[in-house]
Amino acid sequence: MAFIDIQQLTFSYPQMEQPVLHHIDLSIEEGEFVVLCGVSGCGKSTLVKHLKREITPHGDATGSVLYNGTLLNELSDKIAASEIGFVMQSPENQIVTDKVWHELAFGLENLGFNTMTIRRRVAEMANFFGIQTWFRKNTMELSGGQKQILNLAAIMAMQPKLLILDEPTSQLDPIAASEFIATLHKLNKELGLTILLVEHRLEEVYPIADRVVIMDKGAIICNGTPKEVAKALQHVDQHHPMLGGLPTPLRIHHALKSQTNAPLTIRDGRQWLTNNFKAQEWQSKKIYDRSFEKKTVLSVKNAWFRYEKDGLDVLRGFSIDVNQGEVISILGGNGTGKTTALGVMSGILKAYRGKIMIDGKPLRKISNHELYHQCLAVLPQNPQTLFVTKSVISELQSTVETQNLTKEEENLQIQTIVRKLNLESLLERHPYDLSGGEQQKVALAKVLLLKPRILLLDEPTKGMDAASKTVLATLLEQLKEEGVAIVMVTHDIEFSASHSDRCALFFDGLIVSSDETRTFYSGNHFYTTAAHRMSRHLFSNAITCEDVIEQCNQQQNRMIHS
């Protein structure tokens, strides 16, 4: 008998005809680390919520879920609450109290433990997770990564036997995400905790999982050890959106239809490349076109900025030139001031020294109305800051209305943008009922209705799965064709490597290095893409999966022909 046993689970939401889950069978053994993945909307979140009774969604469910041989619904309230822990996506929303120590104790208070027991458990947790130094702080003062660790610790204090996590790292920056995953790995290895992790960013979790389960359209399509799943995926179509989320070595392996044992980590990937391919010089066909000089639309020279009069400088001589029809990525660690830089570029924050020019005109001489209509637009990090109304269509209408157009023109504009972004099916929905990726799209549509020539994006890929990223990439490509200048601030190395013309590294208040994307990444040693790290000993300038695949394909073809 398995620890968790899901039998023939079928579920549909009220007023929806299509079930979200079809006859799911899944069993998990005690001590396993299981990763569940799939594109967004495949039903993975709905499935794991059925393992946590308190938050199971309303709807029609058939089939059964057994926990340790007992039906989940027959467990006592106390056991259901304490033995099954659930960590959600948003680090912010899960925190209940204002003090770190109280947050750690919250679950234990609910279970009615006495002060001595709580004190001991809280101390244990603080030690295990390294919380001692911020134990007495306010929860508001923590960073995103710390918040998520706190959420995990608060649940671990209740000593669960099964830990379920629903995309816990999607709101974190890469470094905090790695730390979080490492903590999970430690919990699994050192305490034998059973973990069920839902993730779409698989680069790090795939190699450490005991089992990988892949879902598609409400059904499980693969279920086995990481290697078995890698093999099973060979039968899946090359262009399935699921594949975009796989770790780089596996994607390359898959794309080349290799029959050898699949490499899961960068280290194995390097080995595998060395065994199968040889070094070569190669020039990509796709190279940044410097031949015709494009017009500089936005230029910042030596900007200095601080939030308070006596505060620290956040920008210290920040400079950048943005040309028409190009995509620039600004990369850099968390809290270095990238978002501030974007604020200064958009005129929302005022630099106290330095020059900011738009189309050769000083920014401060342009009125807000001129600036934000048909000139410059910002997509904020949190798309929800833009939503005012009750439906997507009225969101779009409210934006168009600010532009003094005739009714027909307004409708035309809305129709155009709807078609461009494939929003047809979402028009009547409430913005908050949409998934993160869809919200991002609607926010982008709103911003694009202002017809900007300069578009500034703040972390546009945050929380997006591979499929949504592809949609965004196509859109950026289109805008670029139309001559829009695009600047994005991002943590997403892989996305910027594939979809930007230039990359700039932001550090300590200014841009320390800036170059054409390929040169930028092939020059960096640590701060570079997984594909480059895996392949640089053979192909010095390959930076994306596609590059590596192309080179390997060339070699394979040559071998066949010679």
Partner: protein, 241 residues
């Protein structure tokens, strides 16, 4: 806003009984004690005690009801918005959205939620700005306004603008009057009607600003926030729980 709870709610009955006991027995007892022992002075201490006493039945009945996490969250969110709103309008004395937000919560979620939102707003905003002897008075004033709003929310009246205006006006005056009681007795512990009217007279500009800001915020916010709260109720089944 539609009627949210049935009037034959057992909790409501129990609350009513506790409230009656405390208000009807303890309060006169306190008054008697104060008048005989303190020779009809020291209304300042007495009034503080009484205001705190008046709040206790609401807290007790709330405890007794075993509130669901979602109810707790709604009250906390609305109070936090009121506090943040109070802070956002710090440059405009007396022009605050607090009463309006408390009242709107009352309209949608009933008298108990209205009272608690008002009380929580007073306590929290004073944690940020510094507690003073006025805290219990504010707690009571906003609480009772939320309570009244909750009772009115059970009728259909609040759908009409004219009632919103009347409510905004009266709530501004009532708030001002309750706080004036404190102003008068905080001065020398005595309460006389002539002084009270003098204080109320000097406070007229404030009272007017309270009333006007209440009306403006109610007219502008009642419908949109009411819709948002309704959506939350429907989407997350707050009614069925």
């Amino acid at each position: 806003m539609q009627p949210t709870t049935k009037s034959n709610d057992p909790f409501l009955k129990k609350k009513f009984i506790i409230t009656s006991i405390i208000v009807l027995i303890l309060t006169p007892l306190c008054l008697l004690l104060g008048v005989t022992l303190w020779q009809d002075r020291r209304y300042n201490i007495l009034s503080l005690i009484m205001v705190i006493l008046a709040c206790i039945p609401f807290f007790l009945s709330f405890e007794h009801k075993k509130p669901k996490p979602r109810e707790i969250l709604i009250i906390a969110v609305m109070s936090a918005i009121a506090v943040a709103g109070r802070a956002a309008f710090v440059w405009a004395p007396a022009f605050k959205p607090v009463t309006a937000i408390v009242a709107i919560t009352g309209f949608s979620f009933g008298p108990a939620a209205g009272f608690l939102t008002g009380a929580a707003t007073a306590i929290t905003s004073n944690i940020f700005c510094g507690q003073g002897p006025w805290t219990p008075f504010q707690m009571f004033a906003w609480g009772i306004l939320g309570y009244i709003a909750g009772v009115l929310g059970k009728t259909d009246w609040m759908k009409y603008k004219i009632w919103l205006i009347i409510f905004g006006l009266l709530s501004g005056i009532l708030y001002s009057f309750i706080m004036d009681i404190w102003t008068v007795i905080s001065y020398d512990g005595r309460f006389t009607w002539s002084r009270y009217f003098a204080a109320a007279g000097t406070a007229i500009p404030y009272t007017a600003t309270y009333a006007i800001s209440n009306i403006i915020f109610l007219l502008l916010l009642a419908k949109p926030i009411g819709e948002k709260l309704k959506r939350i109720k429907i989407k997350y089944g707050l009614l069925e729980e």
